[in-house]
Symmetry: C2
Subunit: 196 residues, 2 copies
DNA sequence: TATCTTTGTTAGCGAACACTAACTAACAAT
DNA sequence: ATTGTTAGTTAGTGTTCGCTAACAAAGATA
Protein backbone atom coordinates (compact mmCIF):
# COMPACT_ATOMS: atom_id res chain seq x y z
CA UNK A 1 0.00 0.00 0.00
CA UNK A 2 1.27 3.44 -0.96
CA UNK A 3 1.99 5.78 1.90
CA UNK A 4 2.80 9.43 1.95
CA UNK A 5 4.99 11.45 4.29
CA UNK A 6 3.55 14.40 6.23
CA UNK A 7 5.34 16.81 3.92
CA UNK A 8 3.96 15.09 0.82
CA UNK A 9 0.44 15.34 2.19
CA UNK A 10 1.02 19.00 3.01
CA UNK A 11 2.10 19.60 -0.58
CA UNK A 12 -0.86 17.71 -2.04
CA UNK A 13 -3.35 19.57 0.16
CA UNK A 14 -1.82 22.92 -0.78
CA UNK A 15 -1.92 22.04 -4.46
CA UNK A 16 -5.57 21.06 -4.17
CA UNK A 17 -6.42 24.30 -2.40
CA UNK A 18 -4.71 26.33 -5.14
CA UNK A 19 -6.54 24.53 -7.91
CA UNK A 20 -9.78 25.04 -6.03
CA UNK A 21 -9.26 28.77 -5.58
CA UNK A 22 -7.47 29.84 -8.73
CA UNK A 23 -7.61 26.97 -11.21
CA UNK A 24 -5.01 24.61 -12.59
CA UNK A 25 -3.33 27.39 -14.58
CA UNK A 26 -2.36 29.07 -11.35
CA UNK A 27 -0.79 25.98 -9.88
CA UNK A 28 2.90 26.62 -10.38
CA UNK A 29 5.79 25.23 -8.39
CA UNK A 30 6.67 28.77 -7.34
CA UNK A 31 3.18 29.50 -5.95
CA UNK A 32 2.93 26.12 -4.34
CA UNK A 33 6.29 26.50 -2.62
CA UNK A 34 5.33 29.95 -1.39
CA UNK A 35 2.06 28.62 0.04
CA UNK A 36 3.94 26.13 2.16
CA UNK A 37 6.79 28.49 2.96
CA UNK A 38 9.51 26.57 1.20
CA UNK A 39 11.75 27.21 -1.76
CA UNK A 40 10.92 25.72 -5.13
CA UNK A 41 13.65 23.09 -5.21
CA UNK A 42 12.53 21.84 -1.81
CA UNK A 43 9.39 20.45 -3.45
CA UNK A 44 11.53 18.31 -5.68
CA UNK A 45 12.86 16.54 -2.62
CA UNK A 46 9.36 15.15 -2.12
CA UNK A 47 8.04 14.69 -5.64
CA UNK A 48 10.11 14.17 -8.74
CA UNK A 49 7.92 16.39 -10.94
CA UNK A 50 4.88 18.62 -10.94
CA UNK A 51 2.89 15.93 -12.74
CA UNK A 52 3.74 13.46 -10.00
CA UNK A 53 2.23 15.80 -7.44
CA UNK A 54 -1.02 15.85 -9.40
CA UNK A 55 -1.09 12.10 -9.97
CA UNK A 56 -0.32 11.46 -6.30
CA UNK A 57 -3.06 13.70 -5.01
CA UNK A 58 -5.61 12.01 -7.23
CA UNK A 59 -4.44 8.64 -5.95
CA UNK A 60 -4.50 9.94 -2.42
CA UNK A 61 -8.12 11.09 -2.62
CA UNK A 62 -9.22 7.97 -4.50
CA UNK A 63 -7.71 5.77 -1.80
CA UNK A 64 -9.29 7.86 0.94
CA UNK A 65 -12.67 7.60 -0.75
CA UNK A 66 -12.45 3.83 -1.22
CA UNK A 67 -11.60 3.30 2.43
CA UNK A 68 -14.36 5.60 3.64
CA UNK A 69 -17.07 4.01 1.51
CA UNK A 70 -15.95 0.51 2.40
CA UNK A 71 -16.18 1.54 6.04
CA UNK A 72 -19.85 2.53 5.89
CA UNK A 73 -21.55 0.05 8.15
CA UNK A 74 -25.07 -1.02 7.41
CA UNK A 75 -27.46 -3.13 9.43
CA UNK A 76 -28.33 -6.52 7.98
CA UNK A 77 -31.91 -5.46 7.25
CA UNK A 78 -31.00 -2.24 5.43
CA UNK A 79 -32.98 -1.57 2.23
CA UNK A 80 -31.25 -0.85 -1.07
CA UNK A 81 -32.57 2.71 -0.90
CA UNK A 82 -31.07 3.23 2.53
CA UNK A 83 -27.75 1.96 1.30
CA UNK A 84 -27.78 4.58 -1.45
CA UNK A 85 -28.75 7.23 1.07
CA UNK A 86 -25.85 6.26 3.29
CA UNK A 87 -23.32 6.29 0.45
CA UNK A 88 -24.28 9.70 -0.90
CA UNK A 89 -24.72 11.19 2.54
CA UNK A 90 -21.16 10.19 3.31
CA UNK A 91 -19.90 11.53 -0.03
CA UNK A 92 -21.62 14.88 0.26
CA UNK A 93 -20.57 15.38 3.86
CA UNK A 94 -16.98 14.76 2.88
CA UNK A 95 -17.23 17.28 0.05
CA UNK A 96 -18.69 19.92 2.35
CA UNK A 97 -15.98 19.34 4.91
CA UNK A 98 -13.21 19.57 2.31
CA UNK A 99 -14.55 21.55 -0.66
CA UNK A 100 -11.24 21.80 -2.48
CA UNK A 101 -11.21 18.09 -3.24
CA UNK A 102 -14.24 18.49 -5.48
CA UNK A 103 -12.50 20.91 -7.82
CA UNK A 104 -9.92 18.26 -8.50
CA UNK A 105 -11.78 14.97 -8.72
CA UNK A 106 -14.82 16.32 -10.59
CA UNK A 107 -12.82 18.13 -13.22
CA UNK A 108 -11.66 15.76 -15.91
CA UNK A 109 -11.24 18.66 -18.31
CA UNK A 110 -8.48 20.36 -16.34
CA UNK A 111 -6.24 17.31 -16.76
CA UNK A 112 -6.86 17.04 -20.46
CA UNK A 113 -3.18 17.72 -21.13
CA UNK A 114 -2.13 14.41 -19.63
CA UNK A 115 -3.65 10.99 -20.31
CA UNK A 116 -2.46 9.45 -17.04
CA UNK A 117 -4.16 12.18 -15.03
CA UNK A 118 -7.44 12.21 -16.92
CA UNK A 119 -7.60 8.42 -16.74
CA UNK A 120 -7.27 8.65 -12.99
CA UNK A 121 -10.23 11.02 -12.81
CA UNK A 122 -12.25 8.65 -15.00
CA UNK A 123 -11.32 5.85 -12.62
CA UNK A 124 -12.84 7.76 -9.71
CA UNK A 125 -16.01 8.36 -11.71
CA UNK A 126 -16.22 4.71 -12.72
CA UNK A 127 -15.90 3.64 -9.13
CA UNK A 128 -19.02 5.59 -8.22
CA UNK A 129 -20.86 4.26 -11.26
CA UNK A 130 -20.08 0.65 -10.34
CA UNK A 131 -21.15 1.25 -6.76
CA UNK A 132 -24.52 2.67 -7.80
CA UNK A 133 -25.30 0.20 -10.56
CA UNK A 134 -24.62 -2.74 -8.22
CA UNK A 135 -27.10 -1.24 -5.77
CA UNK A 136 -29.75 -0.74 -8.44
CA UNK A 137 -29.37 -4.22 -9.89
CA UNK A 138 -29.61 -5.84 -6.48
CA UNK A 139 -32.57 -3.66 -5.57
CA UNK A 140 -34.37 -4.64 -8.76
CA UNK A 141 -33.73 -8.33 -8.18
CA UNK A 142 -35.09 -8.02 -4.66
CA UNK A 143 -38.15 -6.23 -5.99
CA UNK A 144 -37.33 -3.13 -3.94
CA UNK A 145 -36.97 -1.02 -7.07
CA UNK A 146 -39.25 -1.08 -10.09
CA UNK A 147 -37.99 -2.58 -13.35
CA UNK A 148 -39.65 -0.05 -15.62
CA UNK A 149 -36.28 1.50 -16.40
CA UNK A 150 -33.09 -0.51 -16.70
CA UNK A 151 -30.37 -0.30 -14.09
CA UNK A 152 -27.83 1.40 -16.31
CA UNK A 153 -30.18 4.25 -17.18
CA UNK A 154 -31.18 4.76 -13.55
CA UNK A 155 -27.52 4.84 -12.58
CA UNK A 156 -26.83 7.55 -15.13
CA UNK A 157 -29.74 9.57 -13.78
CA UNK A 158 -28.63 9.22 -10.17
CA UNK A 159 -24.93 9.96 -10.68
CA UNK A 160 -25.80 12.74 -13.12
CA UNK A 161 -28.25 14.31 -10.70
CA UNK A 162 -25.76 14.18 -7.86
CA UNK A 163 -23.01 15.70 -9.97
CA UNK A 164 -25.35 18.48 -10.98
CA UNK A 165 -26.04 19.30 -7.33
CA UNK A 166 -22.32 19.41 -6.65
CA UNK A 167 -21.74 21.61 -9.69
CA UNK A 168 -24.40 24.08 -8.56
CA UNK A 169 -22.87 24.13 -5.11
CA UNK A 170 -19.47 24.94 -6.65
CA UNK A 171 -20.95 27.72 -8.76
CA UNK A 172 -22.63 29.17 -5.66
CA UNK A 173 -19.13 29.34 -4.11
CA UNK A 174 -20.04 26.52 -1.74
CA UNK A 175 -22.80 28.62 -0.23
CA UNK A 176 -25.74 26.34 -0.96
CA UNK A 177 -26.39 23.45 1.40
CA UNK A 178 -24.82 20.60 -0.51
CA UNK A 179 -25.92 17.76 1.76
CA UNK A 180 -29.51 18.95 1.97
CA UNK A 181 -29.85 19.71 -1.75
CA UNK A 182 -28.19 16.42 -2.67
CA UNK A 183 -30.44 14.37 -0.45
CA UNK A 184 -33.52 16.09 -1.86
CA UNK A 185 -32.53 15.05 -5.36
CA UNK A 186 -31.70 11.51 -4.30
CA UNK A 187 -34.98 11.28 -2.40
CA UNK A 188 -36.82 12.48 -5.49
CA UNK A 189 -35.31 9.78 -7.64
CA UNK A 190 -35.90 7.11 -5.02
CA UNK A 191 -39.51 8.22 -4.73
CA UNK A 192 -39.86 7.41 -8.42
CA UNK A 193 -38.15 4.01 -8.42
CA UNK A 194 -38.80 2.55 -4.98
CA UNK A 195 -41.79 0.21 -4.70
CA UNK A 196 -44.00 0.96 -1.77
CA UNK B 1 -26.16 42.37 -32.52
CA UNK B 2 -22.52 41.25 -32.49
CA UNK B 3 -21.12 39.98 -35.70
CA UNK B 4 -17.90 38.27 -36.49
CA UNK B 5 -15.72 38.34 -39.58
CA UNK B 6 -14.89 35.13 -41.41
CA UNK B 7 -11.37 35.26 -40.05
CA UNK B 8 -12.60 35.70 -36.50
CA UNK B 9 -14.87 32.69 -36.85
CA UNK B 10 -12.00 30.70 -38.31
CA UNK B 11 -9.88 31.60 -35.27
CA UNK B 12 -12.62 30.75 -32.80
CA UNK B 13 -13.30 27.40 -34.45
CA UNK B 14 -9.60 26.53 -34.47
CA UNK B 15 -9.28 27.52 -30.81
CA UNK B 16 -12.25 25.32 -29.92
CA UNK B 17 -10.78 22.39 -31.83
CA UNK B 18 -7.47 22.75 -30.01
CA UNK B 19 -9.11 22.88 -26.59
CA UNK B 20 -11.16 19.83 -27.53
CA UNK B 21 -8.16 17.81 -28.64
CA UNK B 22 -5.40 18.91 -26.30
CA UNK B 23 -6.95 20.96 -23.51
CA UNK B 24 -6.82 24.61 -22.60
CA UNK B 25 -3.16 24.38 -21.57
CA UNK B 26 -2.25 23.61 -25.14
CA UNK B 27 -4.07 26.58 -26.56
CA UNK B 28 -1.26 29.03 -27.20
CA UNK B 29 -1.19 31.84 -29.69
CA UNK B 30 1.71 30.11 -31.42
CA UNK B 31 -0.21 26.82 -31.84
CA UNK B 32 -3.35 28.59 -32.84
CA UNK B 33 -1.60 30.67 -35.47
CA UNK B 34 0.11 27.57 -36.85
CA UNK B 35 -3.25 25.76 -37.11
CA UNK B 36 -4.62 28.49 -39.30
CA UNK B 37 -1.40 29.05 -41.20
CA UNK B 38 -0.77 32.57 -40.00
CA UNK B 39 1.89 34.26 -37.94
CA UNK B 40 1.27 35.01 -34.28
CA UNK B 41 0.91 38.76 -34.61
CA UNK B 42 -1.70 38.28 -37.33
CA UNK B 43 -4.11 36.98 -34.70
CA UNK B 44 -3.84 40.26 -32.86
CA UNK B 45 -5.28 42.01 -35.91
CA UNK B 46 -8.53 40.15 -35.20
CA UNK B 47 -8.65 39.91 -31.43
CA UNK B 48 -6.95 42.21 -28.99
CA UNK B 49 -5.94 39.43 -26.61
CA UNK B 50 -6.05 35.69 -26.07
CA UNK B 51 -8.76 36.13 -23.45
CA UNK B 52 -10.89 37.99 -25.93
CA UNK B 53 -10.72 35.01 -28.27
CA UNK B 54 -12.05 32.77 -25.51
CA UNK B 55 -14.76 35.18 -24.45
CA UNK B 56 -15.83 35.68 -28.04
CA UNK B 57 -16.11 32.01 -28.80
CA UNK B 58 -18.28 31.43 -25.74
CA UNK B 59 -20.51 34.29 -26.82
CA UNK B 60 -20.57 32.94 -30.35
CA UNK B 61 -21.74 29.49 -29.29
CA UNK B 62 -24.22 30.87 -26.78
CA UNK B 63 -25.78 33.05 -29.45
CA UNK B 64 -25.88 30.16 -31.90
CA UNK B 65 -27.60 27.99 -29.30
CA UNK B 66 -30.20 30.59 -28.41
CA UNK B 67 -31.13 31.08 -32.04
CA UNK B 68 -31.34 27.36 -32.73
CA UNK B 69 -33.53 26.61 -29.73
CA UNK B 70 -35.81 29.54 -30.41
CA UNK B 71 -36.18 28.20 -33.94
CA UNK B 72 -37.53 24.81 -32.89
CA UNK B 73 -41.07 24.79 -34.22
CA UNK B 74 -43.73 22.90 -32.37
CA UNK B 75 -47.31 22.13 -33.33
CA UNK B 76 -49.98 23.82 -31.23
CA UNK B 77 -51.05 20.50 -29.69
CA UNK B 78 -47.55 19.39 -28.64
CA UNK B 79 -47.28 17.93 -25.14
CA UNK B 80 -44.79 19.24 -22.60
CA UNK B 81 -42.89 15.97 -22.86
CA UNK B 82 -42.61 16.29 -26.63
CA UNK B 83 -41.29 19.81 -26.23
CA UNK B 84 -38.52 18.49 -23.96
CA UNK B 85 -37.79 15.71 -26.43
CA UNK B 86 -37.47 18.24 -29.24
CA UNK B 87 -35.16 20.53 -27.28
CA UNK B 88 -32.74 17.82 -26.19
CA UNK B 89 -32.85 16.09 -29.52
CA UNK B 90 -31.74 19.32 -31.12
CA UNK B 91 -29.04 19.89 -28.50
CA UNK B 92 -27.58 16.40 -28.74
CA UNK B 93 -27.62 16.40 -32.53
CA UNK B 94 -25.71 19.66 -32.53
CA UNK B 95 -23.13 18.26 -30.12
CA UNK B 96 -22.64 15.15 -32.26
CA UNK B 97 -22.22 17.24 -35.37
CA UNK B 98 -19.69 19.56 -33.73
CA UNK B 99 -18.13 17.68 -30.80
CA UNK B 100 -15.48 20.29 -30.04
CA UNK B 101 -18.07 22.77 -28.82
CA UNK B 102 -18.90 20.52 -25.90
CA UNK B 103 -15.38 20.61 -24.51
CA UNK B 104 -15.68 24.35 -24.23
CA UNK B 105 -19.21 25.06 -23.02
CA UNK B 106 -19.42 22.12 -20.60
CA UNK B 107 -16.12 22.84 -18.91
CA UNK B 108 -16.49 25.60 -16.34
CA UNK B 109 -13.35 24.38 -14.60
CA UNK B 110 -11.01 25.16 -17.48
CA UNK B 111 -11.93 28.85 -17.28
CA UNK B 112 -11.47 29.04 -13.55
CA UNK B 113 -8.60 31.48 -14.03
CA UNK B 114 -10.90 34.21 -15.29
CA UNK B 115 -14.20 35.32 -13.75
CA UNK B 116 -15.56 36.77 -16.98
CA UNK B 117 -15.08 33.48 -18.78
CA UNK B 118 -16.46 31.23 -16.05
CA UNK B 119 -19.47 33.50 -15.68
CA UNK B 120 -20.15 33.10 -19.36
CA UNK B 121 -20.14 29.32 -19.02
CA UNK B 122 -22.51 29.59 -16.06
CA UNK B 123 -24.76 31.74 -18.19
CA UNK B 124 -25.03 28.98 -20.79
CA UNK B 125 -25.86 26.46 -18.07
CA UNK B 126 -28.47 28.75 -16.56
CA UNK B 127 -30.13 29.18 -19.90
CA UNK B 128 -30.71 25.45 -20.16
CA UNK B 129 -31.93 25.30 -16.58
CA UNK B 130 -34.50 28.05 -17.17
CA UNK B 131 -35.68 26.38 -20.34
CA UNK B 132 -36.27 23.05 -18.61
CA UNK B 133 -37.82 24.39 -15.42
CA UNK B 134 -40.31 26.44 -17.43
CA UNK B 135 -41.32 23.28 -19.25
CA UNK B 136 -41.71 21.30 -16.03
CA UNK B 137 -43.75 24.01 -14.30
CA UNK B 138 -46.06 24.38 -17.25
CA UNK B 139 -46.41 20.61 -17.55
CA UNK B 140 -47.28 20.30 -13.88
CA UNK B 141 -49.89 23.06 -14.11
CA UNK B 142 -51.44 21.35 -17.12
CA UNK B 143 -51.49 18.05 -15.23
CA UNK B 144 -49.25 16.45 -17.83
CA UNK B 145 -46.52 15.79 -15.24
CA UNK B 146 -47.05 14.52 -11.72
CA UNK B 147 -46.51 16.86 -8.78
CA UNK B 148 -44.93 14.31 -6.49
CA UNK B 149 -41.56 16.01 -6.93
CA UNK B 150 -41.13 19.76 -7.28
CA UNK B 151 -40.13 21.34 -10.56
CA UNK B 152 -36.72 22.49 -9.40
CA UNK B 153 -35.67 19.01 -8.31
CA UNK B 154 -36.92 17.44 -11.53
CA UNK B 155 -34.98 20.04 -13.50
CA UNK B 156 -31.80 19.20 -11.65
CA UNK B 157 -32.36 15.52 -12.37
CA UNK B 158 -32.98 16.10 -16.07
CA UNK B 159 -30.14 18.51 -16.74
CA UNK B 160 -27.83 16.41 -14.57
CA UNK B 161 -28.75 13.23 -16.38
CA UNK B 162 -28.21 14.82 -19.77
CA UNK B 163 -24.85 16.23 -18.74
CA UNK B 164 -23.81 12.81 -17.51
CA UNK B 165 -24.63 11.28 -20.88
CA UNK B 166 -22.57 13.95 -22.60
CA UNK B 167 -19.68 13.40 -20.18
CA UNK B 168 -19.69 9.66 -20.85
CA UNK B 169 -19.74 10.35 -24.56
CA UNK B 170 -16.70 12.62 -24.18
CA UNK B 171 -14.85 10.01 -22.14
CA UNK B 172 -15.63 7.40 -24.80
CA UNK B 173 -13.89 9.74 -27.29
CA UNK B 174 -17.25 10.51 -28.90
CA UNK B 175 -17.69 6.87 -29.83
CA UNK B 176 -20.93 6.18 -27.98
CA UNK B 177 -24.18 7.19 -29.65
CA UNK B 178 -24.89 10.47 -27.89
CA UNK B 179 -28.34 11.12 -29.33
CA UNK B 180 -29.57 7.59 -28.68
CA UNK B 181 -28.15 7.37 -25.15
CA UNK B 182 -29.41 10.82 -24.30
CA UNK B 183 -32.91 10.12 -25.48
CA UNK B 184 -33.01 6.86 -23.51
CA UNK B 185 -32.22 8.77 -20.33
CA UNK B 186 -34.74 11.50 -21.09
CA UNK B 187 -37.36 8.87 -21.93
CA UNK B 188 -36.64 7.14 -18.64
CA UNK B 189 -37.20 10.30 -16.64
CA UNK B 190 -40.32 11.19 -18.60
CA UNK B 191 -41.66 7.68 -18.00
CA UNK B 192 -41.44 8.45 -14.30
CA UNK B 193 -42.99 11.90 -14.32
CA UNK B 194 -45.50 11.86 -17.19
CA UNK B 195 -49.07 11.06 -16.30
CA UNK B 196 -50.62 8.48 -18.57
C1' DT C 1 35.02 11.78 16.12
C1' DA C 2 33.93 11.10 11.38
C1' DT C 3 30.72 10.17 7.85
C1' DC C 4 26.15 9.60 5.63
C1' DT C 5 21.46 10.87 4.89
C1' DT C 6 17.85 14.02 4.87
C1' DT C 7 15.99 18.32 3.80
C1' DG C 8 16.58 22.57 2.99
C1' DT C 9 18.96 26.84 0.52
C1' DT C 10 20.66 30.34 -3.53
C1' DA C 11 21.44 31.00 -8.17
C1' DG C 12 20.43 30.13 -12.66
C1' DC C 13 19.36 27.12 -16.85
C1' DG C 14 16.81 26.78 -21.53
C1' DA C 15 12.27 26.92 -23.27
C1' DA C 16 7.84 28.76 -23.79
C1' DC C 17 4.61 32.30 -22.85
C1' DA C 18 1.55 36.58 -24.37
C1' DC C 19 2.36 40.32 -26.70
C1' DT C 20 4.69 44.45 -29.47
C1' DA C 21 7.58 47.28 -32.73
C1' DA C 22 8.48 48.10 -37.23
C1' DC C 23 7.74 47.25 -41.69
C1' DT C 24 5.21 45.83 -46.28
C1' DA C 25 2.15 44.41 -49.96
C1' DA C 26 -2.54 44.73 -51.76
C1' DC C 27 -6.28 47.30 -52.41
C1' DA C 28 -9.92 50.99 -51.90
C1' DA C 29 -11.14 55.93 -51.74
C1' DT C 30 -10.58 60.60 -52.94
C1' DA D 1 -1.85 59.83 -58.65
C1' DT D 2 -1.87 60.05 -53.86
C1' DT D 3 -3.21 58.59 -49.57
C1' DG D 4 -5.15 55.61 -46.01
C1' DT D 5 -6.68 51.15 -44.44
C1' DT D 6 -6.41 46.31 -43.95
C1' DA D 7 -4.03 42.22 -43.01
C1' DG D 8 -0.12 40.17 -43.13
C1' DT D 9 5.21 39.59 -42.12
C1' DT D 10 10.03 39.14 -39.25
C1' DA D 11 12.29 39.92 -35.21
C1' DG D 12 12.40 40.48 -30.56
C1' DT D 13 10.56 42.19 -25.82
C1' DG D 14 10.26 40.97 -20.73
C1' DT D 15 8.29 37.44 -17.90
C1' DT D 16 7.35 33.07 -16.20
C1' DC D 17 7.65 28.23 -16.57
C1' DG D 18 9.51 23.50 -14.76
C1' DC D 19 13.50 22.01 -13.28
C1' DT D 20 18.71 21.46 -11.85
C1' DA D 21 23.48 22.25 -10.02
C1' DA D 22 25.93 23.22 -6.11
C1' DC D 23 26.11 23.90 -1.58
C1' DA D 24 24.80 23.88 3.72
C1' DA D 25 22.89 22.66 8.17
C1' DA D 26 21.18 19.16 11.19
C1' DG D 27 20.66 14.75 13.02
C1' DA D 28 21.50 9.71 12.84
C1' DT D 29 24.84 6.15 12.47
C1' DA D 30 29.40 3.82 12.67
Amino acid sequence: MKEYTDRQIEIMEAATARIDQFGIQNLTIKNLAADIGLSEPALYRHFKSKNEILLSLLNYFLLEMKIRIKGISLGSDTTAGDELRAIFNSQLKTFMARPAIVSVIFAESIFHFDKTLSNKVSEIMNMMHELVIANIQKGQEDEQYGKLINASTITTIITGGMRMVVLKWKISSNKSNLVKDGMVVLEGILKMIEKK
